[in-house]
């Protein structure tokens, strides 16, 4: 029991520490391609520290939801990452962890953020909320099919994370099956949509017509904003971890926890770079093109399901 709690705390601390780094990497990549020097890869950490030091500006019309939402969002993200051990050696703590719980935790956080966006009564907030919910509703089917596919293997037959990890630890070569490759492609698209990256959303814009996530959190400042940012970094890391550990379980079980952690970092970095490459090579979609994007992700995940279970 004590060991489990220690592992849990360790997991949370590590993820809190590494999560902002990957966003920094993407920003750096982008800057380099645009022939800028760009901010350092640890700039997101400075930003967070700066935000914590700043004062809060809260609208007079805002209700308690507005004040509560950033914390709910942050805590739900942290709870989600604590369901998904980043290395095989940290598996012990997860007695109630289930892949579906992760999805519901995200929904809880998102609902609060959307309400908070509406709460202040500003035009952008409401627009951002509706768009954010649209995007997440569109990619949800694909996400569910990916989750069902990885957990429906006859040897696993459960959405329980330790059960899936147990199976993967003995079958790391499944990374190269067509099913996993298709699911990874679908997951990458879901990751892009869920973490508000180009081409679905542009995280660096404050242009009224195009922003989605940014519009929703436009009213926030100071500590609140810091929690929201942190929550977003962790959410992004959850999807990356899902991909790195469950869909591409290369070197997942080498025996040495430190080595496993190193391999994990490399895999997440590779995924980050992939996201960056996609971001550099595409332009942001119009809002009405996002359904196409989501359906393509859905179709790829369905094909993954078909190749994994039906075409055998």
């Amino acid at each position: 029991m004590l060991e489990s709690i220690l592992k849990l705390i360790l997991q949370i601390l590590i993820t809190l520490l590494i999560a902002p780094f990957f966003t920094g990497v993407i920003r750096k990549m982008k800057a380099r391609v645009q022939h800028r020097v760009g901010a350092s890869v640890i700039q997101p950490y400075y930003d967070l520290i700066k935000l914590f030091k700043k004062d809060l500006v809260v609208s007079e019309t805002a209700s308690w939801i507005y004040n509560l939402a950033p914390y709910v969002y942050f805590i739900s993200s942290v709870a989600a990452i604590s369901c998904l051990p980043i290395v095989h050696g940290l598996t012990g703590f997860s007695f109630y962890t289930d892949l579906l719980i992760i999805v519901y935790l995200f929904v809880a956080g998102r609902i609060f953020m959307a309400l908070a966006g509406l709460d202040t009564g500003s035009t952008f907030g409401g627009m951002g909320s509706s768009r954010e919910l649209l995007v997440s509703a569109l990619v949800e089917p694909a996400l569910f099919i990916v989750i069902i596919t990885v957990s429906a293997r006859a040897e696993v037959a459960s959405t329980n994370v330790p059960a899936i990890y147990e199976f993967l630890a003995g079958n790391t070569e499944t990374a190269f099956t067509p099913m996993n490759i298709l699911l990874s492609a679908s997951m990458l698209m879901i990751l892009i949509a869920e973490s508000s990256r180009i081409p679905v959303d542009d995280p660096s814009t404050h242009l009224e017509l195009t922003m989605v996530h940014e519009a929703m959190v436009l009213e926030y400042s100071g500590r609140h904003l810091a929690f929201i940012e942190m929550g977003s970094y962790i959410k992004q890391l959850v999807f990356m971890t899902f991909m790195a550990n469950i869909l591409i379980p290369v070197g997942f079980n080498v025996g040495n926890t430190f080595l496993e952690f190193g391999i994990y970092l490399v895999k997440v970095l590779v995924i980050t770079i992939l996201v960056g490459v996609v971001e550099l090579n595409t332009v942001k979609f119009r809002l009405y093109s996002i359904p196409n994007f989501a359906v393509i992700a859905l179709v790829i995940s369905i094909l993954g399901f078909l190749t994994g279970f039906i075409l055998k």
Partner: protein
């Protein structure tokens, strides 16, 4: 391992057919088709090299590899590109059915082809069954692509995709048909492609557009 790789490549061909259907503009059909042909060439090279290593003598499928590379990867896409440039200047939407719906229909087509082929008891080799499902799906997707596009170019590309599906089926299930048949097939389809190309020009000259919606004089 061998089958795993072939499996993956044939799935990629299927994905490229999906990508084609997700494409909105005529200009992007051609690179997608070329990508598919590269994959097909890769499969033919793979099959023939393995055969040659196993039997230590010349395998005819390598001729198909050369033909596919020369015609489908290089010449046909170029010819298509010049045709598109000569015929059409405007960039327009080119589909009847919107993309999400057509993607879902295509998924249903894949399931359909699975349903049809899975229930043939006679095919005992599971790999052959899989390959047949993929290639049959590619053929159906090509057909759907032809139906859902308005421009004559889209129909030609659909035809080429159907053709790729057939070569895929022939190559993977029977490890290549007799050479005389394969060659005949190849040049037959090449001629078909050239004739279609000529007709695109004719349609463009007579109807002042390659929108086949305008071909509505004959009915009943």
């Amino acid at each position: 391992m061998y089958h795993n790789a072939l499996n993956l490549m044939s799935i990629l061909i299927l994905i490229s057919a999906f990508a084609l259907i997700a494409n909105k503009r005529q200009n992007s059909y051609i690179p997608t088709f070329r990508f598919q042909s590269v994959l097909l060439a890769g499969i033919s090279l793979f099959v023939s090299v393995r055969e040659m290593i196993a039997s230590k003598k010349f395998d005819e499928v390598i001729i198909m590899f050369v033909l596919i590379v020369v015609f489908k990867v290089i010449i046909i896409p170029r010819y298509m590109k010049s045709t598109v440039e000569k015929v059409e200047y405007k960039v327009e939407k080119d589909f009847f059915i919107n993309i999400p719906l057509s993607m879902i229909i295509c998924c249903c087509l894949v399931v359909l082809s699975w349903y049809v082929i899975y229930h043939i008891e006679g095919i005992t080799d599971n790999h052959a069954k899989n390959y047949l499902i993929y290639s049959f799906s590619v053929v159906l997707l090509g057909l759907f692509f032809m139906i859902s596009r308005k421009k004559a170019i889209g129909q030609i590309i659909g035809f080429l995709v159907i053709e790729n599906g057939m070569f895929l089926a022939a190559m993977l299930t029977t490890e290549g048909m007799p050479m005389i048949v394969e060659l005949g097939l190849f040049f037959d389809l090449l001629t078909a492609f050239i004739i279609m190309g000529i007709f695109v020009f004719k349609i463009n000259n007579t109807f002042e557009s390659i929108d086949i919606n305008k071909l509505k004089n004959l009915k009943g």
